[in-house]
């Protein structure tokens, strides 16, 4: 077997190992963030792994591959959203502002959806940190690696994200109904 063929066989094997190992993680990551309908998730996941194939030599070994793929998925989603953003931006904002007052009373019953929408209204950097830590299970250091920023920046964004959520009328209504005092357990756990 020629060197070229050996190289391609090795690349293919690496692709398949990475694909099998990280497909579920990337699928969940994309599903949590995709701007369009759910049926677009497989398309975006496909684009992530196609991009991984093109840049296979850059994928780090060991567990860092997952973080590298998160970064790739993030860029892919940004590109994916770009085409949608122009026509959806105004509609989304109007919808959010028009319904927010009406939703407060029903926030407790709406539960997960209300909080999810509040998370979606967070500024992008803060939301991404929150999602990486809370949903993807990343440590602060890992989130910093995905976002190519410092650990302190992650901690700051996470703090800001949670502060904004507490100020969100829908989330505040849920928190008040719980009568549970907040603590910083999640922050401490992730550090």
């Amino acid at each position: 077997m020629s060197v070229g063929r050996q190289d391609r066989v090795a690349r293919r094997e690496r692709f398949e190992v990475l694909y099998a190992e990280h497909y579920a993680s990337i699928y969940r990551y994309v599903d949590r963030r995709v701007a369009g309908p759910a049926y677009e998730v497989p398309d975006v996941v496909a684009e992530v792994f196609t991009a991984m194939w093109r840049r296979l030599d850059e994928v780090p070994d060991s567990g860092d591959a997952r973080l590298w793929l998160y970064g790739m998925a993030r860029h892919t989603l940004m590109n994916h959203r770009r085409g949608r953003r122009r026509r959806w931006r105004l509609l989304s904002r109007l919808t959010a502002e028009a319904t927010i007052t009406a939703q407060i009373e029903g926030a407790v019953e709406q539960g997960d959806t209300a909080v999810r929408e509040a998370i979606n209204r967070l500024p992008d950097p803060d939301r991404e940190v929150l999602q990486l830590v809370a949903w993807e299970g990343c440590s602060h250091a890992e989130a910093a690696q995905v976002l190519d920023c410092s650990v302190n920046a992650v901690a700051l964004r996470l703090h800001k994200a949670k502060a904004r959520l507490r100020e969100d009328p829908l989330v505040a209504a849920r928190l008040q109904s719980s009568q549970v005092k907040p603590d910083r357990a999640l922050d401490a756990q992730r550090k």
Binding site: R5, R12, E16, Y19, R28, P42, A134, K181
Partner: protein, 385 residues
Amino acid sequence: MDYLDTLIQDADPAKHLAIPSVDPATTRRAYHRASAGEHRGRRYLVPATGALGAACAAAAVAVVAIPGGPTVAPPSAAAAVLDRAALAAADNPTITLGPDQYLYSDIHTLAGSYWQWGSPADSAYTIEAETVQTWVAANGADRRLTTYDGPQQFATPAGHEAWVKAMQAGEPSIAPQTNTPSGQYDSHDGPGGFAAPDDLSQLPTDPATLRQLIDTGKTGLNEVGFPEHAAITPAYTFATAAEILATPALNSSAALRTALYDVMADTPGIQLLGTASDHSGRSGTEIAGPVGGGIGSQTPYGANGVRDEVIIDPSTGDVLEINLVNADPSLNNAETQSIYGNTAGQTFTWTDYLTSGVVNSTSSTPGPDTTSGATATNGTTDTSS
């Protein structure tokens, strides 16, 4: 964890997400589509797209609920060998045929012949190794030169006895067919005298579509037999895909070769037999198809206990040999057993695919291929010109 953290966790849209399972076949398809995307722009790893696709995926795709993640089965060793062969085969050149050119091929094969010159008792099944050289032009003009390696053997003692008896009686229909001083049989046909070489350009390169075409007997290829009166089995599908890969033909693309290997790799029941040598002394890796009858044209009637065993050169992706082996004699019917014999492990036929290439006359053969080892393969040069 405070209550806000609990709310955030509960708001995770993927908390109860069902993710399509990742099995070896899915992973292979993902690879093919990702690598194809290098040259073809945006490609999707998951075919189910759009509203219909989403509905189909939800209804039909095996899913694994979170938590737990997908179940990843270890890839079949046989499938892994076939995948490697597919990669190597993708590099093989495509054969095209110009005017006044011939597609040359030669095979070394154990040919089986069934003879009957009277009642059913006056019959014999003989096997004899022979080398068949074929030159075929696009218009069907051809030359076929058969060289008998001998000696002729009989599948059953009863057949041998009947043959000897007939020879002693001067039965003319079992005289050896030779027409050259050296004992060969040489035949020539003008245009239209023989089937033109298969043109594979119209075959689909999607493995699922290709499999469907094979299983419905609609490949339209000369060399592929179709068991009109028998059930289509995975054994037939496997053997047919191997046969298409092995048979020299025109316009076979890298994508088609990959798809054919995919069809073989996705066949349930395939086994890796290990390193093996073919009857021409070449070494390769042997894969067994499932038991259940092979290609209709070469499988003895009622031989449901046979399987095709394929020797592949993993470095070139070439199919070196296809054997038809009696794997489970208990599944063969009485007719098969009486005519062909019924010993476990018995080889009914084997065919070694030796050389192929384009030449300019029916008296020339392709030159040696210095890039692929012992045998010349597709696209080699004509030594006569």
